[in-house]
């Protein structure tokens, strides 16, 4: 009997196996079939977890307002910073820009604190905060330079956005805005066209895999109207023509502490933990008109995946994908390359297995691939 691999009638590769080799071959195929089938059962659950294709997470959090009465914008940014740090993104991957200092401001009755809830329940400033751009450094030019990566050579690492094409980036902006612009420090503004062009530069330089853009300003939806790069998802706290309102003042501090949208966003994020499976559709429902007075908007037409299959932790957290193996590998001897003739089959096996890399969120057992290979193809 001759077993041949053909391509359009032309025999490429033929073997004349003995009966023993035929049995082995059939055994391999059954094994692979069962394995893939079992994999598929889990892949329904695991499917939504490995489709994002990102390997690292970054966050750029910007507060653009100066002066003490804009305390709430700093509190907004710090509450997102706090959630993002809690869910796993380290300080080295967060670029935090605060245009003014509220915590150690002389008007602050409780120095070194920034509260988000009245009666001083939650201090979002905390004890371990690293602000990368502060005060006068928060300008439109610096913000665009951080996004596009065009910084002077002497800029330290903590001030750079060192993302690559497998990074998911979260960008959060808050401050005072209008129809098509966002005001920086009461002296300059950034327009929606500039922002869209900056994102296009990022796309062309492959500086992001997917990007989530959240903006909490008046008429915030106008800022994402002009986006045209792929893989962008945007949320805004209000539509064009509407104002985003602040939440509640604190009588001891004397200013409004948070904006409504970010207040309910913070409440939503406090329920998220690193292994939660909440998806973006629930994020779109945060702060409906009854709570926010303004209508939050979102834009997903440029995003390639279905938002219902995108996890919150894909952007807000830094969930590492870990592959568990039960084998110990002794690397003292050099690795021997496997024989040439079984290369294509090995390649297929590896492709199947790589798709089933799972996050730490769900611990599963699966057939270790080393055992499979060694049983079937003894290394010679």
């Amino acid at each position: 009997m001759l077993l041949c691999l053909t391509d359009g009638g032309i025999a490429l590769f033929c073997v004349n196996p003995t009966s023993w080799q035929i049995i082995v071959f059939i055994y391999i195929y059954i094994y692979i079939y069962i394995y893939i089938y079992m994999g598929n059962v889990h892949s329904d659950k695991a499917g939504q977890f490995f489709n994002s294709g990102h390997t690292n997470n970054w966050a750029v959090l910007v507060c653009t307002s100066r002066f003490w009465f804009n305390y709430r914008h700093v509190a907004n940014t710090l509450s997102v910073y706090r959630s993002v740090k809690r869910l796993g993104i380290p300080d080295s991957r967060i670029v935090l820009m605060l245009a003014d200092d509220m915590a150690c401001n002389h008007r602050n009755p409780k120095p070194a604190t920034v509260f988000s809830h009245k009666n001083m329940e939650l201090n979002v400033y905390g004890d371990d905060v690293e602000v990368d751009y502060r005060g006068y450094e928060v300008t439109v030019e610096n913000f665009l330079r951080v996004l596009t990566g065009r910084l002077p050579a002497s800029t330290p690492r903590s001030k750079r956005l060192l993302s690559d094409d497998r990074s998911n980036i979260l960008i959060y902006l808050t401050g005072h805005g209008g129809n098509g612009f966002l005001k920086f420090q009461d002296s300059e503004e950034i327009s929606n066209v500039e922002l869209a062009d900056a994102f296009e530069q990022m796309w062309q330089k492959r500086r992001y895999n997917e990007l989530l853009f959240i903006i909490d300003t008046c008429q915030g939806a106008s800022m994402y109207e002009r986006f045209y790069s792929p893989n962008l998802m945007a949320l805004a706290s209000s539509q064009v023509g509407e104002d985003s309102l602040s939440h509640q003042p604190d009588l001891a501090i004397g200013v409004h502490l948070m904006d409504r949208y970010t207040f309910y966003l913070l409440e939503f994020l406090e329920d998220i933990h690193p292994s939660s499976t909440t998806n973006m559709n629930q994020l779109f429902k945060v702060c409906p008109k009854s709570q926010c007075v303004s209508t939050p908007g979102h834009r997903t037409d440029l995003f390639l995946r279905d938002p219902g299959r995108v996890l919150i932790t894909d952007f807000f957290g830094s969930v590492r994908k870990v592959e568990i193996t039960m084998e110990t590998i002794n690397l003292s001897s050099p690795m021997e390359p496997l024989p040439e003739r079984i290369n294509c089959t090995v390649h297929i096996l590896y492709m199947c297995i790589n798709k089933h890399i799972i996050p730490t969120a769900i611990i599963m057992y699966y057939v270790p691939r080393q055992k499979l290979l060694r049983d079937v193809f003894p290394c010679t």
């Binding site: 004890d127 502060r134 005060g135 903590s158």
Partner: protein, 567 residues
């Protein structure tokens, strides 16, 4: 104090162990009650490392010395680095002298090694890197606020440099200090904020104070008495003054828990010495508990003080409750404070937004000794100093400085630098005045909040002040005659640096809504004036018959049907 080095066990015959330089870490806290009722706490964390940064050997194995600072020192060939972040102003007349003075805002001065070829370029890169390490806006330090002092700021470590071209000094008086600067500072400590004295450093209490200053000082020191090899010393200092009234209690009572909301539970395991000193020179007025038998005397800042010592490396210091919380309770009212011998003030005089005067007053409170001081002023270029109006007077008479170094400013490039050596007569006030004129900046050079004003950095007064201890010339101590002829006692004079207040000056600020207003007005004028003229010149007139009445219009319609000429 003998320095006990942590000895690595050299019984292992590994070559790499022998090459690893020794390092040593000490931590110390000094608590000094002030006469105004406030309390002053000064932390010092000192790491001495026997590595030779100036040699050719690459240093790669870091243990107690923080790697981020070590790499900065090696890469930029830094001999000495002093950086401080301060919030608040030190009130010399109420509080006395600080152990380590610092000006409000950020101050950075660096001595580079003589192998550096482009000092300005290296300085710019160094400030950028430090701004990333300390999360501060040190990248705003550029040529417009950097000066090269010619006489002040001599090296504090060893070094026989006299070439001041390797020295750079800059201040940022507007720099804010908050938790984001304390966090990376704490990360440089070997024990972090987990053990030892650094557990007390909680930002909510530290920043709720009248004065807060944190600094990093790196300098080379001698390793042995002959000074054949050098080691690198890193000192991290934190000075804080807690206010009696804002801490919310009527009676005067201080404890570690009240100051820091923490107590001490253990020493840092990596420290060779961990001590707390409490200044008990005024002991009859307050009681200190828990009492400690260890007392030490030291001459600090020209005054002989007594300190109670708590040694945290001894388990007995913590008592049965395993935590140390010192309590100071005042019983009697305060006595007289020793008046600080050197003190200074500075203010802007004048009116309007055109010109003004800067007055610097230097007080010498020593009853009979005159001593020289070095005054360093760096004034930004937008205050144009008129040096021909510089006057120095003491007790109403002119007092000529023996050394003046003045470097004029260049618009948008360099600030003014004025350094003078003044002799202060005893018990007097010396006044230095200079007139200036305010410049008009370009509209892009204004900060986003220009109506706040512009800061001028503190002036620095450096002096060797005669010590109070040496004031006692008819000594009652029993000493042989051959050693007591010349008035030479220990600590006859001590080095002191006094910083003045920073100045806040209003520059003529334009109305930033002017471009919008001007455009509106100009367009209106153009539209109304030019538009009318254009119309008049180019409009043609046609004669237009008035529209006829109804009867005539019907008649015209009938006539049009008939093909007859209209009415």
């Amino acid at each position: 104090m003998a320095i006990r080095r942590l000895k690595h066990t050299r019984t292992h015959a590994h070559a790499c162990m022998l090459q690893t330089p020794l390092d040593d870490f000490q931590e110390e806290l000094v608590i000094r009650p002030l006469h105004s009722g406030d309390i002053y706490a000064s932390f010092q964390f000192r790491t001495v490392w026997d590595a030779d940064f100036m040699g050719d050997q690459k240093v790669s194995h870091y243990r107690l010395f923080p790697k981020s600072l070590g790499q900065v020192i090696t890469k930029f060939s830094v001999r000495e680095l002093h950086i401080s972040f301060t919030q608040g102003y030190w009130r010399t007349m109420q509080w006395g002298q600080p152990y380590l003075p610092s000006p409000p805002g950020a101050e950075l001065w660096v001595w580079f090694q003589d192998t550096v070829t482009d000092v300005d370029g290296t300085w710019k890169e160094l400030t950028n890197v430090l701004s990333g390490i300390f999360c501060a806006s040190l990248n705003f330090i550029d040529s417009t606020n950097t000066v090269q002092p010619s006489a002040s700021f001599k090296p504090l470590g060893i070094g026989n440099v006299t070439d001041h071209s390797f020295l750079r000094y800059a201040t940022l008086p507007r720099e804010i200090v908050c938790t984001e600067n304390l966090t990376p500072w704490k990360k440089l400590l070997p024990c972090g904020s987990k053990a030892g004295l650094s557990v007390l450093l909680k930002s909510e209490k530290l920043f709720h104070s009248t004065f807060h200053s944190q600094a990093v000082h790196v300098r080379p020191v001698c390793q042995d008495p002959q000074c054949r090899t050098t080691s690198m010393e890193l000192r991290q200092t934190l000075n804080v003054v807690f206010d009696l009234h804002t801490s919310g209690q009527g009676k005067r009572e201080w404890s570690l828990f009240k100051m820091f909301s923490r107590t001490l539970t253990e020493a840092c395991p990596l420290a060779s010495s961990s001590k707390v000193y409490v200044d008990v020179t005024d002991n009859p007025q307050f009681e200190l508990s828990p009492a400690t038998p260890l007392l030490t005397q030291a001459v600090v800042l020209g005054d002989r003080r007594t300190y109670s010592v708590y040694d945290l490396t001894q388990q007995a210091s913590f008592g049965s409750s395993r935590s140390l919380n010192m309590l100071l309770r005042w019983k009697a009212a305060d006595g007289e404070m020793l008046r600080p011998l050197l003190h200074s003030e500075r203010y802007v005089a004048g009116y309007g937004l055109q010109a003004g005067e800067i007055h610097t007053l230097i007080y010498n409170h020593h009853p009979y000794r005159a001593f020289p001081v070095l005054l360093l002023s760096a004034v930004p270029w937008y205050l144009r100093l008129y040096i021909h109006t510089l006057t120095v007077s003491s007790k109403g008479k002119d007092n000529r400085p023996s050394y003046i170094h003045y470097q004029p400013s260049k618009d948008r490039e360099r600030p003014h630098l004025l350094e003078m050596l003044l002799q202060l007569p005893p018990n007097s006030v010396t006044e230095v005045t200079v007139e200036f004129e305010r410049a008009l900046l370009k509209w892009t050079e204004y900060t986003p909040d220009p109506n706040h004003g512009f800061y001028v950095g503190s002036s620095v007064i450096s002096a060797l002040v005669p010590s109070v201890v040496a004031m006692d010339t008819n000594s009652t101590l029993d000493r042989p005659l051959f050693s007591s002829f010349f008035p030479c006692k220990e600590e006859a004079s001590y080095f002191m640096r006094v910083y003045t207040e920073p100045l806040l000056v209003n520059l003529p600020t334009p109305d930033f809504s002017m471009p919008y207003n001007v455009i509106c007005l100009t367009c209106t004028v153009v539209a109304v004036g030019y538009g009318s003229l254009y119309n008049l010149l180019t409009r043609t007139f046609q004669v237009d018959e008035p529209s006829p009445g109804l009867a005539k219009r019907i008649a015209n319609v009938i006539r049009r049907f008939r093909g007859v000429p209209l009415l």
